[in-house]
């Protein structure tokens, strides 16, 4: 696992789409109780696809970088596909190996996004 990877540190230091999204259609907060991390995600949708994602909260390098990266890569993706995503998909997006001890960090943003989508049902 290399959390110093250029891509990861870049998203951590210069997060994309951070903040509250005005006119969000749905939002959801996930927490990791063991470290106190919290990521809230705001979504705007275009039919069955995601149009815009923003996130807020606090977390470690992995959690924040994953939130930032997903906020870009999931745009225009189908909701049904996003609901099926899991650790291996996030790992592919991050481009680094995630050890078991950090899997919760990598997943917190995805869980928020999926939680926000489920709120719509």
């Amino acid at each position: 696992m290399d959390i110093y990877a250029q891509n990861i540190l870049d998203h951590y230091k210069n997060p994309r789409n951070r903040g509250v999204l005005k006119n969000a259609e749905t939002c959801f907060k996930s927490t990791n109780a063991s470290c106190g991390d919290e990521i809230t995600v705001y979504l705007k949708l275009d039919d069955d696809r995601i149009e815009k994602i923003s996130f807020d909260g606090h977390g470690c390098v992995i959690a924040l970088a994953a939130a930032s990266i997903l906020s870009e890569t999931l745009i225009d993706k189908e909701i049904t596909d996003i609901l099926k995503m899991d650790l291996s998909d996030v790992q592919a997006q991050l481009g680094i190996e995630i050890s078991n001890r950090r899997s919760k960090c990598a997943l917190i943003a995805l869980r928020s996004i999926q939680g926000a989508l489920k709120e719509l049902d």
Binding site: I3, Y4, Y12, S34, C35, G36, G59, C60, V61, R102
Partner: protein, 403 residues
């Protein structure tokens, strides 16, 4: 100065070409070579169940086990029959809450804890709260982490207080609490007292007779011995009065189809085959520490604490939780912008083992308004050079991660 790290085989391990620096003693300590040898020796030479059967192997195993009970009793100045072997400090606390608690507490009774407790000394009482409706109250802490006397007096003045259960050293603040006075106050009022010595046992000489608590608990694995073995000390009279908890072999003097008679203490609380090799190894660890001597341990640890506190002055970005006085060699910090999990993970990659999170003390972190902390917990074998290495590595990581 003697290098005590050589007594612990784990500490000669290398990780990615780095020597291992073990700063996680509060989670679990490394094991002594002597401890490892005693476990191996038990399997190779004795390997028998205890108190069962008339053969020489059983006799040897039983003798070693009971000898360990004497060593542990001597280590904390208890009587031999006041030492009950359990699986951990947590198991000991649960045993008290179920045996003493369920037979002595009723709805509305107050159990008093402090804000500095580990989950192991909170959740067993929350379980009883659900079960019988007891009330739990917490003694506040002063800004320096010490127990607030005002809060203590106010809470203990209530007539419904039945139990006081306190940690002797916080696993987050590192502060050693001198509990003698509050225990005396509680005893005088007929309040039963428990001391959680899980974090103090490896750093402070313990004399249960002077301390005066009714019960005291600790674990073997934080004392350089194996995990899966713990101690419950109980005053003789108290152990005699409370009911057995686990039923099974060893804890009975006779059994019929419809009734049983319990054995004498301490056997009354040791149902089933215990962790025999773990108990024997715990005795070995206690004897090692006695031979090393508290004077040496305290002197070395005070040296480490003083050196650490001097170094940290140059790192205002690390906010140490708890005051400097009466500190075990345990340091937790609020790391502000840098996330403790990132730091612990990256320090680990450099061979420096530290812990991040709330260390099973979630209510305390909430009380201190800190989301999570980075914890370094040292022991007598650690060195100033290792502390230097930590601070150097920390600075490097800080530079890489700062935005």
């Amino acid at each position: 100065m003697k290098d005590y790290r050589l007594d612990f085989p784990l500490l000669s391990r290398k990780y990615r070409n780095n020597n291992l620096i073990y700063f996680d003693n509060a989670a679990t300590s490394p094991k002594l070579q002597l401890v490892i040898d005693s476990v191996t020796d038990f399997y190779k030479q004795h390997n028998a169940n205890i108190h069962r059967g008339p053969n020489f192997l059983t006799q040897e195993a039983t003798d070693l086990y009971e000898e360990a009970r004497k060593i542990v009793a001597n280590f904390i100045n208890a009587n031999t029959e006041e030492i009950i072997f359990t699986s951990s400090a947590t198991a000991s606390l649960n045993l008290i809450s179920r045996s003493w608690g369920e037979s002595n507490l009723k709805m509305g009774d107050i159990v008093v804890l402090s804000r500095a407790e580990h989950h192991a000394n909170i959740v067993p009482w929350l379980l009883l709260k659900d079960k019988i409706g007891i009330e739990i109250q917490y003694i506040d802490l002063n800004d320096d982490g010490s127990l607030s006397r005002d809060s203590m007096y106010t809470i203990l003045a209530q007539p419904r207080v039945k139990l006081l259960s306190l940690t002797q050293t916080s696993n987050v603040l590192g502060i050693y609490y001198d509990l003698k006075e509050v225990i005396k106050m509680a005893n005088d009022k007929g309040v039963v007292t428990i001391v959680d010595a899980a974090q103090s046992i490896a750093h402070h000489e313990l004399n249960v007779k002077e301390l005066g608590a009714d019960f005291l608990v600790f674990s073997g694995h934080k004392l350089f011995a194996p995990s899966g073995v713990g101690v419950l000390y109980g005053r003789q009279k108290m152990l005699g009065q409370i009911p057995a908890f686990f039923g099974g072999g060893s804890m009975i003097s006779s059994v019929s189809e419809q009734s049983y008679q319990v054995a004498e203490i301490p056997y009354k609380f040791e149902a089933g085959t215990p962790n025999i090799e773990g108990v024997i190894a715990l005795g070995v660890a206690c004897r090692y520490l006695q031979q090393l001597g508290w004077e040496t341990i305290n002197k070395r640890e005070k040296g480490l604490v003083d050196y650490f506190l001097k170094k940290i002055i140059d790192y205002p970005e690390l906010q140490l939780l708890g005051a400097n006085s009466n500190r075990a060699p345990l340091f937790s910090f609020n790391t502000f912008k840098l996330h403790p999990h990132d730091l612990a993970d990256l320090l680990g990659e450099e061979g420096i083992i530290v812990r991040a999170g709330h260390h099973c003390a979630e209510p305390l972190h909430r009380y201190l308004k800190v989301k999570a902390s980075l914890r370094l917990s040292l022991a007598f074998y650690n060195t100033n050079e290792e502390i230097d290495k930590f601070f150097d590595k920390f600075r490097q990581l800080e530079e890489k991660l700062s935005c």
